[in-house]
Every structure is written in C-alpha cells, then in structure tokens.
C-alpha cells in the first residue's frame, strides 16, 4: 500500500516535471541529489562528482518520459546515476573488469589474521580509506555496504558474477581494515 502511494506520488512528480510545472524539477533535484551526490563522491571522487551530478540530472530530465513507475523513482535515479558513474570510471581508468582482475592477483590483499585491530571507525577516516581503494573493489563496497545493494544487483550493474562481487567486497573490507587499523595491533 505504501509503495502504491509512493508510486502515485512519483508518477505525479514526473508528470509535473514533464509539463515544466514551476518548481517541479527542483523538487525532484532537492529530494534525490544528496544521495546521488554521496554515491558519486564515493565512486568517482569529489573532484569529478559535481560535474557528474549535473550530467546525471540532465540525463534524468531528458529521460523522464521513459519512467513508467515500475520501480520507485529513487531506485530509477539510483540506477541511472550508478551507470553514469561506472561509465565515467571506465572512461577514466580503463575497464573496470581489468581493475577487478588486477586486484584478484595482488599479493597480500587479504591482510593480517591477527586479532581485532580496529577501534571505533571514524566516519572521515572511512571516507578517506574508501578513496584509497582500487576502483573495482571500492565500487562493490560502496554499492553493498553503503547503498545496501545485493550481490545479484551489483553483478548485473558491473557485469560480474555474484561470486566475484562477494570476493571483491571481502577484499575491500580487508584492505580498509589494514588502512584503518592501529599499528600496535592491540585488541580493543
């Protein structure tokens, strides 16, 4: 029932946007820009995220006619934004799959099996750590652990198997653990 009401509201907002109703597209932008900007910042970096956010909303504006309400508007925009971020990564850093393959072969990526090395994980430290991850496993981490996507959906977005998605997620977490871990190795 809730989805039905939200779906009606989504379609109504899209209809107002398509009719160039004053303030409608700004309403859509204000509602969804923060989530999509967060996604873009974490996937492509803050430096490119502003330009990319513009492109995402301009693309959305042009494609609103394709939105039929099958999924929530937020989901539709999220997929559109993710695809544009991935296109950007592919164009900027060769193909994502190559990055994934490279990471698979890196020695020592799994990290230490010593006891717990993390205390409270600071949000800013985590954001910085994310920026230091290779694009492939960072993308999987952002989509799974931050955005809450399932491995199946990630696999479809990235063109990889569920297993590879799980493997990349684990590697991303272990790398972050190493980056954020205390050097003295004390258990907290």
């Amino acid at each position: 029932m809730k989805r039905l009401v939200e779906g009606h509201a989504d379609l109504a907002l899209v209809a107002r946007c398509r009719a160039n109703s004053p303030g409608a597209f700004e309403e859509l932008y204000r509602a969804y820009a923060p989530r999509l900007f967060g996604l873009a910042c974490r996937l492509v970096g803050r430096g490119d995220a502003e330009d990319l956010l513009q492109e995402i909303f301009l693309t959305a504006h042009r494609k609103l006619g394709l939105y039929k309400g099958e999924a929530a508007l937020g989901t539709w925009l999220f997929r559109l934004a993710t695809n544009q971020c991935l296109d950007h990564l592919r164009s900027q850093r060769a193909r994502l799959m190559q990055l994934v393959d490279t990471l698979d072969e890196e020695p020592g990526a799994v990290g230490s099996s010593a006891g717990a090395i993390l205390g409270v994980v600071d949000r800013l430290d985590l954001e910085r750590g994310l920026a230091g991850l290779p694009a492939g496993c960072r993308t999987v981490f952002v989509l799974h652990d931050i955005e809450g996507c399932e491995h199946k959906e990630i696999g479809e977005l990235l063109g990889i198997s569920d297993g590879t998605s799980k493997s990349q997620l684990h590697k991303a977490r272990m790398r972050l653990r190493q980056m954020l871990g205390r050097t003295d190795g004390r258990e907290s």
């Binding site: 160039n20 597209f25 700004e26 932008y29 204000r30 820009a33 923060p34 989530r35 900007f37 967060g38 910042c41 974490r42 490119d48 995220a49 502003e50 330009d51 990319l52 956010l53 513009q54 492109e55 909303f57 301009l58 504006h61 042009r62 950007h88 799994v110 099996s113 010593a114 006891g115 717990a116 090395i117 993390l118 409270v120 994980v121 949000r123 985590l126 954001e127 981490f141 652990d145 931050i146 809450g148 799980k166 493997s167 997620l169 684990h170 977490r173 272990m174 972050l176 653990r177 954020l180 871990g181 258990e187």
Partner: protein
Amino acid sequence: MNTCQAIQPQLSSYVDGHLTAEERRALDAHLETCSGCRGVLRDLERLRAAARQLGPIAPPDHVWLEVAGQVRLDEPGAGGGGRASAPRTAVRQWIGLAAALVLVTIGAFFLRVSPPASPPGNVPARDAVQAIADDLMLANQHYERAIAELDALSKTNGGALDPAIADLLRKNIAAADQAIAESRSAVTQSPESGPARESLMEALRRKVDVLQATVTLMNDMRRGDQAGAAESAAAISKKG
C-alpha cells in the same frame, strides 16, 4: 594454506548472513578456537556497521543553478538549440557556474523582451516592463550569489579572484543597472515611444555583454593567461 587463510574469505559472508547453516556451523567451530579470526570478524562487523552510517552528501548550491540553467536551455523554444553542453569534467566548477548564469540571464532577458518593437497588443507596456524588472531582480540575485561563490571557490582552490576584479564586476553591473533603470523610467512615462523601448533593450544587452565578458575573463584566469585576463578586464571596464 592454513585453516585461517582458507576460511577468511568466508568471514564477510558470515557477517552478511550469506552462509548456509552447515557452513556457519563449521566456521563457528573454528572461531571457538581462533582468537585471530574472531578479531578479524569483529573488525569486519565494525566496518560494515560504520559503512551503513555513511549518509547522503549535500551538493553545493551552484550545482542546482547549473542544472537549472541547462534544463531551461533544453526546453522547447528556449533558443538554446536543445542540449548544448558536453560533459564538463575538465572545466572548473566556477567557470560553469558563471557560464550558466549568463545563459540563464540571456534566457530571462531575451525570451521575455523580444521582439522589442512590437509587444502583444493585449499586454499593457507597464506589465511588460514589470516582467522585465522581475527577471532582472532574479538575475541580480543569482549574480550576487555567483560572485560570492567565486570568492569562496577561489580561496578553496588556492587561486585568487582579485578583489579589484570583483569590485569592478559589481561596479559595471551597477552602471548597467542604472542605465536600465533610466531607460525603464522612460518607457514607463512614454510606453508608445519606440526610441525609449530601444534604449531599454540596448541597456539590457549591455548588461548581458558585461556578464559574457566576465565569463571570458574567468576562462583566461583559469588558463593562467595573464595577458588575456588583462585584456578581458579592460574590456569589462569599457563595457561598464
């Protein structure tokens, strides 16, 4: 490969609840006896919980201004020729901001006022003038915000938006506004006067010229073209 190395890849799936009951039992049995793997598991749980706390990030205000300017150009009949801009990944954000400002301003001015010599017969000239004034007020608000953002961004980027240049921009806009106000007054007093309307249109065009020259100056500064910037600044001074 020892047991710990063999089972570690499963720890993430354990945290996410993706193991079968059998896999989970086997892993639990190992964790009972291995403090190292218990530590790794605890870290993975902390990381996962911390990641879930990372929320949305509010984009800077100027992003919406740029989107709005481009959307306006994309609208049918806006005179922008459809989608006008290519991805601007190489363009500094404040250049885009200024360019969008000019585009919005041009759209606001010329869509509302042209053709100047023959306003619709059922629209009183006073209303037409008021409509122009409203657009001008809106454009001015955008312009002041743009200059403030340029100041902030130039400081952030370690560059310099010369205060003298900023003052010059404001001064020239003020001069253009004065010319517009005088022309508007003339049109209000003599709505049927063709020369008065032409004068108002000319004043509006001069203001747009100033804004366009400002964009040129900013591009020069971005490229580090000192000579070009000096030339553009001189041009702005003349336009004032």
